[in-house]
Symmetry: C2
Subunit: 274 residues, 2 copies
């Protein structure tokens, strides 16, 4: 097991400092900047980290929902954290991320003390060519956050050059995905990784259109030890959409450990224009 390298860009982006009035203060990361705000994955990770770091926290995250209410501007933000309910083995938290002009994101998280039980995985990891046989996506000149991930597409790679064809392209992507530089997997990085799947509308329409995630829910399928066992090895990721209609579409994703264990699943609903 490798230790987390000092000053990994993700850990710098995740720095939260308690304020005198009981809030957490952070600063947006240029290294994870997206088109019009921070990469949503880091916002999700920050909301999770606020609860993870709370002294009263028990157990490991099971579910995280983040709602993106408004663009987050470059600079400082504050997270308000509320412990809504603590039971013997589960705990609930609510978070709000604010800047000067109001609440920019809300979130809820469920934590649980997990224990060994009967286990069964009906789903199987999609077949994918070995990591070393696929070329990493060229992220040069793209939004900064893309350079913070090693993305190796087996299927459904984004082509940023507009297609002449107007027929919808397949909505599914299958790829290897890892932090860049490499970083041992934990809940904070996994929450970001769950949002690394480029919004399906770009893929299907074959061009960039105005689009943005409005809500993202991630489920974690193992405890901290189960994630640590993955180390910094790349994950297998799959993303797809069921329907695009009336300005919104759903996008679901799976993140698999190299050993075929499903580590996280996520869904998001995404706004699109045109």
């Amino acid at each position: 097991m490798n230790a987390i390298p000092p000053n990994h860009p993700l850990d710098i982006a995740m720095r939260l400092t308690p304020t005198d009035d009981g809030r957490l203060k952070g600063t947006t990361s240029d290294e994870y900047w997206n088109m019009m705000g921070p990469f949503g994955g880091t916002t999700a990770s920050l909301m999770l980290k606020a609860a993870l770091d709370a002294p009263a926290r028990i157990g490991d995250p099971v579910a995280l929902t983040v709602n993106f209410c408004a663009p987050i501007a470059k600079g400082d933000f504050f997270i308000d954290l509320k412990e809504t309910r603590t039971n013997r083995s589960t705990q609930h938290w609510s978070m709000e991320l604010s800047q000067e002009n109001g609440i920019a994101a809300t979130a809820t998280a469920v934590f649980a003390k997990r224990r060994e039980t009967w286990a069964y995985q009906p789903a199987a990891m999609p077949a994918i060519p070995p990591h070393e046989t696929l070329a990493p996506m060229n992220t040069e000149g793209r939004n900064a956050w893309l350079s913070r991930y090693d993305l190796r597409f087996a299927e459904g790679a984004m082509n940023f050059e507009a297609r002449a064809d107007d027929d919808p392209a397949p909505s599914r992507s299958l790829l290897w995905v890892a932090d860049k530089p490499a970083r041992p997997l934990d809940f904070v990085s996994l929450a970001s990784l769950a949002d690394t799947f480029i919004v399906r509308i770009f893929l299907v329409r074959g061009r960039m259109v105005p689009a943005g995630t409005v809500s993202l829910t991630t489920y974690f399928h193992t405890d901290a030890a189960g994630l640590a066992a993955q180390g910094d090895a790349p994950l297998v990721g799959m993303a797809d959409t069921k329907t695009f209609r009336q300005g919104y579409f759903d996008q679901s994703a799976e993140l698999w450990g190299g050993d075929g264990r499903l580590l996280a699943t996520s869904v998001q609903t995404v706004y699109f224009k045109e």
Copy 2:
């Protein structure tokens, strides 16, 4: 289009009265009672209805997440509603449901003014035999809420008699589902319908085990007019699980209109013991 019949049990369960201190007061429904508390679908619908009925509400629901923090006791409860952010075409709400001993459920909802756009549905409705060829599930002697739905299984029917066999059974169910008595579809009923899929652990293990939903997220894929077009005709429902591990499993569901349009998708994470 049929009007909603007066005093449908769902609408009685959905009654919320504003209190002098700005909360909403409701009472649990015996007609939708589950094993140890109200059917989670009605709790989800109540959280949604609190925001839907708010005078400041704009648009139609796009995403709803409900976290089940503690059992809800028979009797009165209160919902606190907060408008977290209103933009030109989207709006965010947070809800908390409380009883005497604290917060029992939290929720967030995203609303949006939907408009006609490019549309495309990569997913197809699963093939299912016609509604009239399948027998309704016998709900006699079962938890009350089951009698509030007409459930006609084509695949993955629950068998409440313990199986001798210890091999896991298939985790997928495919069925026709409708309110009983029939009721024209709206967002309130759809939010409940998204939780009518019996928890997969019962199906897979072939017996009842202690289990309960801790978080439920539902995405709505059309506007109010799109739902109204469905009327009171039964929906096609599909539910499945990807992994059961360390005391929790995910469960995803699809709800299709009779015309093959995907009306809602949902995911939930469910606690199980043993």
